[in-house]
């Protein structure tokens, strides 16, 4: 290897300097050039589609059962046939219990956000872990453009990935549900809505993950807090529902995963916030984590 060459000053001349578009391109190169990123994206896709397929079979079976035995479950053998419901009645009955047909394309999102959320934390925490962040912030000394460029890459990739995964799940679910006599189509209430909105939820979780990674600067720490926010908090508050008094029964609706999940449903539900409110609360949680992340990134030494 020869190291005797002396630098030519030529090629770098005539460039335009630091631009946001350049930073965006840089973050995209960084995003696509890691094997771990590609693998995690693949896992996310497989998880969403896989769980969706299982959900199609399960929900088909449940509706089949409801049709045969009524919404309250199997009755004694030889019960009068009058208990039987029509298909649409059975679908409505299942829907009232949170088992929807229109939600099948995004049934796998809870697993999907676990993988993609971890990817989002890693996207910045691994830069802190390896020291890469010092190169990044030397090239982009104002720092925030690098964060926003990362956020844009992440939001676009997670939205598109979820959209495609949800649509593929939808296509696969058509023949499965047909086997149960259920007609699955884009014309069914809520199907187009969930296919389009699933990505919003996943992108929101990813943005939260990116902010947590920025705030905590550690991959493990960031993922733990993300899991706590989107999984443990829901379990914790569901236990609160056992406490006497109506107040505690409503607290659970305000945790990010429940509010975000409500955003993905259609129609009103008794004693429950509306899908729009759910979406706004979910957005509130994202802002709550992102603002301190941006402030610390700007002010703390790297």
């Amino acid at each position: 290897m020869s190291t005797t060459t002396i630098p030519a000053p030529s090629a770098a001349a005539g460039t335009t300097g630091l631009t946001f578009l350049g930073v965006l391109r840089s973050e995209w190169i960084k995003f696509r050039s890691l094997r771990s990123t590609q693998l995690l994206l693949l896992f996310t896709f497989v998880a969403v589609v896989g769980v969706g397929i299982i959900a199609a079979f399960l929900r088909g079976t449940i509706i089949d059962q409801i049709m045969k035995f009524g919404a309250t479950g199997p009755t004694e053998p030889g019960a009068p046939a009058g208990h039987q419901l029509t298909l649409e009645q059975a679908i409505d009955a299942a829907n009232a219990q949170g088992i929807s047909i229109y939600g099948i394309p995004i049934a796998g999102l809870q697993l999907g956000i676990l993988v993609l959320g971890a990817l989002a934390v890693l996207l910045i925490a691994s830069e802190f872990g390896t020291g890469m962040v010092r190169s990044t912030m030397t090239a982009v000394p104002k720092r925030l453009p690098a964060f926003f460029a990362k956020a844009i890459v992440l939001v676009v990739v997670s939205y598109v990935l979820t959209l495609v995964a949800a649509f593929v799940t939808f296509l696969i679910s058509i023949p499965i549900l047909h086997g149960y006599g259920i007609d699955m189509s884009l014309g069914r209430d809520g199907v187009v809505y969930t296919i389009l909105m699933g990505g919003v939820y996943v992108a929101g979780v990813a943005l939260t993950g990116l902010s947590l990674g920025t705030l905590i600067r550690s991959s493990a720490g960031g993922i733990i807090v993300l899991v706590a926010l989107f999984f443990l908090l829901e379990i914790g508050t569901s236990l609160l529902g056992l406490v006497p008094g109506d107040f505690w029964k409503y607290v659970g609706q305000y945790v990010p995963s429940v509010a975000g999940g409500r955003m993905l449903e259609i129609g009103d539900k008794a004693a429950f916030i509306s899908p729009l409110s759910g979406g706004l609360i979910f957005l509130g949680w994202i802002v709550l984590v992102t603002v301190p992340a941006v402030i610390t990134l700007k002010t703390r030494d790297v």
Partner: protein, 319 residues
């Protein structure tokens, strides 16, 4: 051109850099010399805004680094050879860095060839040796063909060929009128590369002068004298307030007077002198002279006293 004015950095109660003022001028290689923990790296990180100064200002070409619209064309910095993602290839790392400033891919290939990384450019940076990592760091610093080059301990882990290359690169760029600022704790390295020296110890500037002045400054005109009668000559010279050291048989080391004066004294007193050699100070000696009070981490002497059990242990043994 780098200008620091009353630049300070505190970490809690600890002071890393304690209000330093200095200027690094273009067209020459400026060495930044100091023992471990003296504040070299902290100062360099503050130049590119990775660390925020607790007080004072630091500017590059008249502006704080972050205020430039083309930071990588202003300053190229190698601050930490480990500032890469271990799972990304060297090529992709440089490509991503270049993209921020819309630097063409041809320049990426140019710096790869320049630093001798062509053979390993597509391999993961995490597998690089210290020397290869250092080359990648230098390639990264050169990407924007910067007006100012900052290299923190650039020769760490490099093979002799690499060391020579860095030395020539620094001189070449300085010759083009660029500002070159490199730190080291190795005096020998500085002696061969730098034109100007800034010596730092415990966060304070100890010396800021051309390398020749620093050598001359500590050089108290010492002369080695070989004489048949060291006792007599030593006595005669000491009487004039001159420092005399008797190191070996028939040899004196005299400082404070020059050879001619010593010869004069010897002639007047009929003492035989058969060698008079003016001694020059090495940069190494000058450096130890300057920093002896400001070394943060003193190595412990290995003497027999230290091997004895501590008093508390002695007490236990008596019982």
């Amino acid at each position: 051109m780098i200008e620091a004015v009353n630049l300070a950095k505190h970490y809690g109660a600890k002071t890393a850099v304690g209000g330093v003022t200095f200027t690094v001028k273009p067209g020459m290689v400026t060495g930044f010399l100091g023992p471990n923990g003296a504040g070299k790296s902290t100062t360099m990180r503050m130049i590119v805004g990775l660390d925020k100064p607790s007080a004072g200002t630091i500017t590059v070409n008249g502006k704080p680094y972050a205020k430039h619209h083309d930071p990588l064309h202003q300053v190229g910095a190698l601050l930490d050879a480990k500032a890469v993602h271990t799972s990304r290839s060297a090529y992709n790392h440089l490509l991503a860095m270049a993209a921020t400033h819309n630097i063409p891919t041809s320049r990426v290939n140019e710096v790869i060839d320049m630093t001798g990384l062509a053979a390993v450019a597509k391999k993961k940076a995490g597998g690089f040796s210290l020397g290869m990592g250092q080359r990648l760091g230098i390639a990264s610093a050169l990407l924007g063909d910067p007006q100012t080059l900052i290299l923190d301990e650039p020769v760490n882990g490099l093979d002799p060929e690499g060391v020579l290359w860095v030395r020539n690169l620094a001189k070449h760029l300085a010759g083009q009128g660029k500002t070159v600022f490199l730190s080291s704790h190795l005096m020998s390295e500085m002696a061969q590369t730098a034109d100007h020296l800034i010596v730092i110890g415990r966060g304070q500037i100890i010396a800021d002068a051309p390398i020749a002045t620093i050598l001359a400054g500590s050089q108290q005109a010492r002369v080695r004298v070989r004489t048949a009668d060291t006792a007599r000559l030593g006595q005669l010279l000491s009487a004039n307030g001159v420092q005399v050291q008797n190191n070996e048989r028939e040899t004196l080391e005299v400082s404070g007077v020059d050879s001619r004066q010593i010869a004069q004294v010897a002639l007047e007193n009929q003492v035989l002198v058969y060698e008079l050699t003016p001694l020059t100070t090495s940069l190494e000696e000058a450096y130890f002279d300057l920093t002896k009070d400001s070394v943060e981490y003193h190595s412990q002497e290995f003497d027999d006293a230290a091997a004895e059990p501590a008093p508390a242990l002695k007490g236990l043994q008596k019982r």
